[in-house]
Symmetry: C3
Subunit: 467 residues, 3 copies
Amino acid sequence: MKPDTVSITTSAHGLGGLGTVCIFGTGDFGRSLGLRLLQAGYEVVFGSRDSKTSTPLEDFHPGPKVMSHAEAAKEAQVVFVAVQREHYDFLTPLIPVLQGKVLVDVSNNLKKGLYQESNAEYLSSLVPGAVVVKAFNTISAWALQSGGLDANRQVYVCGDQPDAKRAVEAIAQNLGLTALDRGSLRAARELEDLPLELFPLWRLPLGIATGLTAFFFFYLLIRDVIYAYVNDGRDISFRIMITLANKVFPIVSLVMLALCYLPGILAAFVQLYNGTKYRRFPDWLDRWMRCRKQIGLLALGCALLHVLYTCIISIRYYVQYKNNAELIGLIKENTNLTLDNAEAWATDSFFALGVLGFLMYVLLGITSIPSVGSSLNWREFRFVQSKIGFLTLMLCTGHCLLYAWNKFLKPTTYKWYTPPGSMLSLVVPCSVLVLKLIIILPCVNRPISRIRQGWERKRKSVSQQRF
Amino acid sequence: MKPDTVSITTSAHGLGGLGTVCIFGTGDFGRSLGLRLLQAGYEVVFGSRDSKTSTPLEDFHPGPKVMSHAEAAKEAQVVFVAVQREHYDFLTPLIPVLQGKVLVDVSNNLKKGLYQESNAEYLSSLVPGAVVVKAFNTISAWALQSGGLDANRQVYVCGDQPDAKRAVEAIAQNLGLTALDRGSLRAARELEDLPLELFPLWRLPLGIATGLTAFFFFYLLIRDVIYAYVNDGRDISFRIMITLANKVFPIVSLVMLALCYLPGILAAFVQLYNGTKYRRFPDWLDRWMRCRKQIGLLALGCALLHVLYTCIISIRYYVQYKNNAELIGLIKENTNLTLDNAEAWATDSFFALGVLGFLMYVLLGITSIPSVGSSLNWREFRFVQSKIGFLTLMLCTGHCLLYAWNKFLKPTTYKWYTPPGSMLSLVVPCSVLVLKLIIILPCVNRPISRIRQGWERKRKSVSQQRF
Amino acid sequence: MKPDTVSITTSAHGLGGLGTVCIFGTGDFGRSLGLRLLQAGYEVVFGSRDSKTSTPLEDFHPGPKVMSHAEAAKEAQVVFVAVQREHYDFLTPLIPVLQGKVLVDVSNNLKKGLYQESNAEYLSSLVPGAVVVKAFNTISAWALQSGGLDANRQVYVCGDQPDAKRAVEAIAQNLGLTALDRGSLRAARELEDLPLELFPLWRLPLGIATGLTAFFFFYLLIRDVIYAYVNDGRDISFRIMITLANKVFPIVSLVMLALCYLPGILAAFVQLYNGTKYRRFPDWLDRWMRCRKQIGLLALGCALLHVLYTCIISIRYYVQYKNNAELIGLIKENTNLTLDNAEAWATDSFFALGVLGFLMYVLLGITSIPSVGSSLNWREFRFVQSKIGFLTLMLCTGHCLLYAWNKFLKPTTYKWYTPPGSMLSLVVPCSVLVLKLIIILPCVNRPISRIRQGWERKRKSVSQQRF
């Protein structure tokens, strides 16, 4: 026994041993779980269909024992069933041995609604004498191996017998995972669906972002590229890649940022209309409010694209060609260059607002990182999301206003009678800012604050006396 | 009963039920707490002043029962009082019913020092027969609804009865939150003030950043804009927006970065002077050391602004005008362009140092994210913050030195006898680097290392023998 | 007693008191631990060699008592030994007093393998009557003071007596830390080495990155700078700082990104070859797979450098000189500028792919933040790392292909018969993409999927019947 490699494993044989755990199945998950259990100080016994050839965790000295299923089950009180549901019938001959044991179902399905009843309930019906606990199914083999840092560390536990649940929770905690009780075995179905979810809160925001991007892309394609082709016969289709994209993304970003703060304002008006906060918001508003963070993050993504596209403007071939052509024209005409002070102020302010707005944007994004957000108290979180959020919206709206300001009155702006994209993009943000301004007005703000502190309008006088 | 929606809630009726909890108040917090309790497998009973019309959590089947306060309190051992302090007097008639119950005070105040005694102590004096526990006040209704991921998940618990505290802690843990014991009910006041804190550690760094920004802004305004107006009569005020800002922010960033590493060096000298590490640092140094992270993050913010401002230099109207004017001048004078190799080396090195410095800066910022920092062990954390920190400071100081190096000896640099901002900005970083160099010297480093390992100078010989 | 400062500490004297803890040593760690214990509601007694002059935590009212070691030990059941191993012999006279006490060894060594046996085992042999528990050695004094947010909060506990371990774990939990059982006292050695680790998983990736950077740097130095000097006698060595760096870093980034996804593909082929997933991967593959995240993050770092270098291209002195020289040449020759539509399309697509690729890169980087990754379920995590990962690789490979596409056939490209760096850099990414394409083919994908679900090829028929 080499003393430098066994320091942890030997604990299983000393006073610090945490007892023996049995694992059925020497697959990926079974092996990873076994390794982690050994590292934590448990003795591990594998039950395998072929105990001679299976040699899991060979590199671990002294490694776990591998036995037949029946022998292995006798060694421990808790048995992990790390086998696909399709193979559960191997358990039928083991019913007598498993009497009174805790069977932990760690299985998942490949897709939702594949079976009528949950795997755990099926297991429970197969081995009626055992106590089935559903757990560990949201933990991946990889997470167990790599120390649980890369993915979710929460072990959801459900089962009908509190003591059995406590035993499984203790194992989870000893492995450095967080155990969460999720009720009776009937909840197993929900737990089994959990690992199949794919970004449920991102669907609506992604839909909105895709819709807005598609709309503005085609709108600007018609106004810029197709108009030039139809009217002037010029083919400037190459502009799609950057010039057009660098108009679409900032527009989508600004609109999404405004959409991020609109539901909070609408909620205030709904509360004001209801005269109470003790009434549920309409479903669409509730859903919208729940995915504000995702909307904001997509807006940040578009803003980052806009920044990157903008930073490479001057190294583009087309831009250099255009600048050189202009300069050669100037030289040939022998015109004197003069600096337009107003133009310098306007363009520099436009850029400065954009830069500051993006900095605030990034700040908002950083506080969306779970561990950053969770280090803030509620008041700080609200300060960042509300005060800094509206500051960001104001800076970005100002940035866009400075871009569009001197184009309102020129008739050439309205190609085919359509306003430019930047004007369209200002509609939602400006509305949000105006609505916010209304809410800040003392005569509106006072009743909203009172409602949020629990005050209600138009309650029956009886109930008010009774409280 | 629809089987696809009740999987979790039915656990409350099965063997996995966690018991009944009573909530007084159907407000925002009460409802959110109730929903979360239901989801975790508790039975929930609401006590409401108007049990007929109040229908909290309508969308939850089978939802919670709503009763009068007295009836509801009879159903459970733990009663959450989710009502504003101003309305606590509704509890007076309930005193007989609440005898021996655990009353959980979840309330907060709107501002500090509003009342003489804490809400929880007031509640305890109102209902002397009940055991009051302060808890959940740092958790927001929104955090309860959205699964606790967006904001702080730590439930601070205080109270005078250990069993009551354990009961409330168990509830918090079952809701997926982390319970932390904070002592007796006298600590309630502090807990009630906690949600009112607003970035206490950021005040000093923000003050420093604002002060430095204001100073350098006006200093450079006078040197650049006002000097040009007074001496040459030129109005170049538009430069404030970007040219000036892009001088102020890098200067502030560099100085703040140096200020981030200065206290650590001062602490070493203080320890060397004291001859021991077992003596407290002066208060100002202690305060400074505690907010180094915040100082560094503000420095990173300024550096990001500098990078963004720099990246858009070449698309600015003024810069294009200047370049074109210069070029036209060159062409008219028919001068031959020659590449100055030294200049090319100097400017490219200047940019390269800046880019590498910023990369290191970002690296430091990333390790400031709580979950990244907590995945490092102490040695790794120190390596990043100390070694990589000083590397960053060296790169950024070098970046600035290359900018200023050939301006020292030109008399035109000293407008109105003032040195340029870049020279001023080098004072603190260079001092820090020199002090660090002194500390690294073996003759200084050895005693510091010994002191940090517990060695003390000039202790009484008696105590040394005794140890 | 001032009521506004003692709210927490007084809990130690009330019903909420958590008992008394003794700390030997008033050094940095001892004091920090004492402060945290006081804040959590413990009574703290310091044992010091010189109880008269030592006044730890003076600013805490009512502060801890300071006594002689023997007196202090009598006050508590748990004694923290916050003293360097070299001074442990002061415990010998205390053996009678420490009989039956829990001694917590919090010590670390300055380097690995300094002593034959671990500090904790040495302590145990010194005071045989006491129960020694190793704990808290991975927690730094600074982490205890600053609330544990800045560094690791996991307290690893090992010892031979379960009750003693539970007592220490309870203290850790009451301090807001996470306690993890790591087995018997023999594991102490490993725990004592833990704080000495310095980025073990980063070594291989950093080695690869350094090797690639060095190779491509010298390769391009020869092709670009030395070739120009030897053939044309031109000194363009200044290009090293940015032009060359901006070729090396994107190449290294692309190759590293491909190396990040190569092991996953190789693993699939190994599984296909083995016909089972129940066999360990070769060691080199296992090691490679474990540091994929680190490889990817280094690739992201290089990509960020590439972006920063690219964004400052147009403000470089050399670039402006070159552009101006070209333009003056054009004007002198009186040539007419014409826009090459194909060139405009190619260059803009090149930039657009780069920008989109970098956005995806950043997305991958963000999901590497532990708290972001842990908020994803396993399926979402895989989706990001696999789907978005390959999209990133495709975008970046496309970006590079567009750069190299029209240089393949020009003989001037092959200076000294060497291909340009961009062509070399495409070898690995293109191989990875082709291999991935093969894996996606139904005829290959089907057996791999079956193997990953547990199917095995060529097992003895006997074992299949038995299962």
